[in-house]
Symmetry: C2
Subunit: 375 residues, 2 copies
Amino acid sequence: MATKKTDDKMGQSRQQIGKKIEEQATGIVADIMKGAGPSIAIPVRGSRNVEFDKEKKKIVLGDKIAHRYLFNVGHARKFMQTMLVASYVKKDLLENNLTATLRDLYYAKKHTIAGTKEDTIDDQKESDLAIVDFEVSLDTFREKLNLRAEPKGRMAGSVIIEDRVRNKVDSIDLSHMGSGGWAVPSIVEQIEFKKVDVDYVLVAEKNAIFDRLNEDEYWAKNNCLIMTTAGQAARGARRLLQRLNEELKLPVYILTDADPYGWYIYSTMKYGSMALAHESDRLGCPNANFIGMSISDIEHYDLKAVTIKAKDVDIKRAEEMKKYDWFKAKEWQLEINKFLEKKIKAEIQSLSSKNLQYISNTYLPEKINNKDFLP
Amino acid sequence: MATKKTDDKMGQSRQQIGKKIEEQATGIVADIMKGAGPSIAIPVRGSRNVEFDKEKKKIVLGDKIAHRYLFNVGHARKFMQTMLVASYVKKDLLENNLTATLRDLYYAKKHTIAGTKEDTIDDQKESDLAIVDFEVSLDTFREKLNLRAEPKGRMAGSVIIEDRVRNKVDSIDLSHMGSGGWAVPSIVEQIEFKKVDVDYVLVAEKNAIFDRLNEDEYWAKNNCLIMTTAGQAARGARRLLQRLNEELKLPVYILTDADPYGWYIYSTMKYGSMALAHESDRLGCPNANFIGMSISDIEHYDLKAVTIKAKDVDIKRAEEMKKYDWFKAKEWQLEINKFLEKKIKAEIQSLSSKNLQYISNTYLPEKINNKDFLP
């Protein structure tokens, strides 16, 4: 099983984005030429325009659109900042085939406006917001604008990928990455899956679990790709999971601690988040399943002695999550109720109380064989 | 240039540690047999036994030794916990050629003592302390005991390493790791350097800088190995740097932000830290140099417009660091004084205000050519 993304397709995509930016700019110039106040249409973000799309199974933006006008005292500064972002993305990044971080953009575009004591950008928060505005106004996401986020995560398994850094193409065999694994980059759009000999993807919230599975050759014995997100998943890891699921049709199973924070990590990977609702389409992986650890596992695997008493903040979080549309499935409601009743949580590593390799030799194979997942 | 660690040597080393543990245990048993109270000799940690060894250029433990007695009400619990650690390391890990985290050990050895309501370990802090006691009592470090820490860091460059996961040996070419890089594992003792075509190692505190250098093919153009520690360096990254420097005689240059936190990251990699003084021998890299960013660079590279006002906490930290033995070199005293006078700091990424590739094309090559380092 393998997909092929041609150079053309990758190149075209950068060109297409460039063209979109040009069209937006041309519209603004046209407004100016005909004496109209130039404006940009930007979908509204924030809770008043966030909804759960049951069909797509994603937390998405609603259809509220705001217009940002240059000739509005309240808008002018933001309008200018959005234009600075547009210019940096187009001229500095896309045209040179270079990527940069949000912080690079901030430093590059911060300057004192000639003849004034006013800075274009006072604080990076301003340019970060302008970047999100720009992304959503173009209906794209920052990685397509060659903007990098902090990378996090590691992978191993019988998959050969091709990754490129500008014009250099590397073939990377993820089954020969030793004890370290391959570090998941921030932008994964350019990655091509060359040879994929796995049946599913197993994502562990924790580095320690990845190391355990890798040492136990879990991925070789069980024919899967393993990944750790090292906590809350970074954008690169989320997007790569989506691609593995949607392009290669690989099932994705997510393994977190048995607590509300683990559920949150899972739900963000699966549905997206309210804060990044505008990105769910590109970062969500709605077909992912929760493989564990569940509160029910505590009983089933006799882990009571190594549980942890839930804190007030866990209880509060669970009560909130119980109300979310994306936790309304009866399996999740049962799970959350069980947690609220017992008020205990458990870490994946509590399985080490049985024996170190219990997770690789017993727990995970059982869960997979029995299809013992939560939706 | 390449070194070779034979399988024998690796195996022997595990055997040697196993033998040391046996000897310690035999001594304890002998004490018991002759009716003496068994004890373990443990070098004292903490500020009253930490000193700066000017010759070794390392923050090390002094020669104060404490004895821990089983038949002392204040010691008995800790004595028992140290024995639990010893048994886990010997029987569960070394004999099975498995590695585990501190948390795995905690879960494996936590249980209620038969006939009592007392748990062997209440809190992971207890077993963590017992692990450090055990390490120093054997004059070794936890990686040799097959105990893993949280891994962090990525690498790229013209170096081929061999890494092994139990009996599987992988040859990894760090010059073909795409945009992600190879993830530095937690334990690096088993790594062999097979082919090393680089002149130096450049360590960036930040992921973003690694990505910049990698995209600019800095390591290929400048014949070096690049690494990011992604913040304060993890144990695996520190140990690997030491090995690259001491075994391969590669110069190590460290690049951090121009602020006291950056200096701290640097000094920990170079000299070790007070909290981990017992580990400096295995984790320190005393020949490393500080390549930047220096406070002097702010003037030299005309970065004043993109500096950040120092906070009170920065000032306080700088005043403390000025007094440390390991910052007494006149170059560092000048640097710290300059900071205290100007009260500004700067990030490496502020170089992006010139142009995105300035760091790769101008700043670093200049610094290296001029040997413009701090000691």
